[in-house]
Symmetry: C2
Subunit: 187 residues, 2 copies
């Protein structure tokens, strides 16, 4: 069984720490009485403060309308401990199954949004819609992270990075070049 | 010295292979007689065909106006062989130096755009501006990859993934879950 990482409050202005390296994320949503989860690799940080993240959600996903209509979601960061669950979520549809039940995941109440957090993930970022100008043309939503939760340990969790064709790159070692950075480029 | 990977034509609809895992990229540009290079970690794939990529270029970068005015750029993917060059590029400004000369990089003519490719990088994607609706508000450009070049080997290059604070995560091993994917999710 997957252990539950104990998450603590994390500064919303620092979510780039987890999102910029490009991990596959699990996006959870709620609309009316239904919840759902989708896998997503097409996202980018857009601003530190307000903490903005852009995500491209294909309209073929059952989650698309739930996210568009509720104007909320939670972006959860899974580690390699959840590899097979991530794959199963990405290869099934919320139209047929309840993904929380089916894959043994725990829906946890968020603080600021009604979409549920996934307890088994390393980090969960509560998001509220900030800009929908590119939704119709590109299915691209700009969300503001209004509250962030992250486990303290491991400091650099092993994340999954999709390359297409069923193949994931896994995060490897960490290297610091801190001493080569200008002071204003750090922090 | 950094070796020059021999690049061959690569299908533009498959650039997610290199960009979706979230590597730091080097964006090269040309405006009038000047060229420049910037580091960038805030990008996302947006569509397979046309091959669309969104990038957030802070207007504090010297490259911002060059990219905005020329409506072109090349997105180059460096490997860990270029780590210190990547850091040096990110901690200097094209207002003061010629980055190609200063860092010993080779500007190579692209086929479809006037911005130069960086020969030492593993892959180079020639881009033309496709949508500027979010440029003014978020410095977010939607580019179309009009021509792609990638080295054949190594198949999974070791890429750099920035986490802030001078620290990079390096890509690690590759795992396949191909057998667990639905046929329509592959390819």
């Amino acid at each position: 069984m997957v252990r539950y990482p104990k998450k603590v409050d994390f500064p919303v202005s620092k979510v780039r720490r987890y999102l910029e390296p490009g991990p596959i994320v699990l996006v959870s949503s709620r609309w009316r009485r239904k919840t759902n989860i989708m896998t997503l690799g097409w996202h980018t940080v857009l601003e530190f403060s307000p903490s903005l993240v852009g995500i491209m959600v294909s309209e073929e996903n059952y989650s698309f309308e739930m996210i568009r209509d509720s104007k909320e979601c939670v972006i959860n960061v899974p580690t390699t401990a959840l590899t097979d669950v991530v794959v199963a979520i990405g290869n099934s549809s919320g139209a047929q199954i309840d993904k929380f039940t089916e894959f043994g995941l725990t829906a946890e109440d968020a603080d600021e949004v009604s979409a549920p957090m996934i307890r088994e993930c390393h980090a969960s970022f509560e998001c509220r819609l900030y800009e929908d100008a590119l939704v119709q043309r590109y299915n691209f939503f700009v969300f503001e992270v209004v509250k962030a939760h992250a486990a303290l340990s491991p400091k650099y969790p092993e994340t999954l990075h999709y390359t297409g064709d069923g193949i994931f790159m896994v995060s490897g070692r960490v290297i610091s070049r801190r001493s080569l950075f200008l002071p204003e480029m750090l922090g």
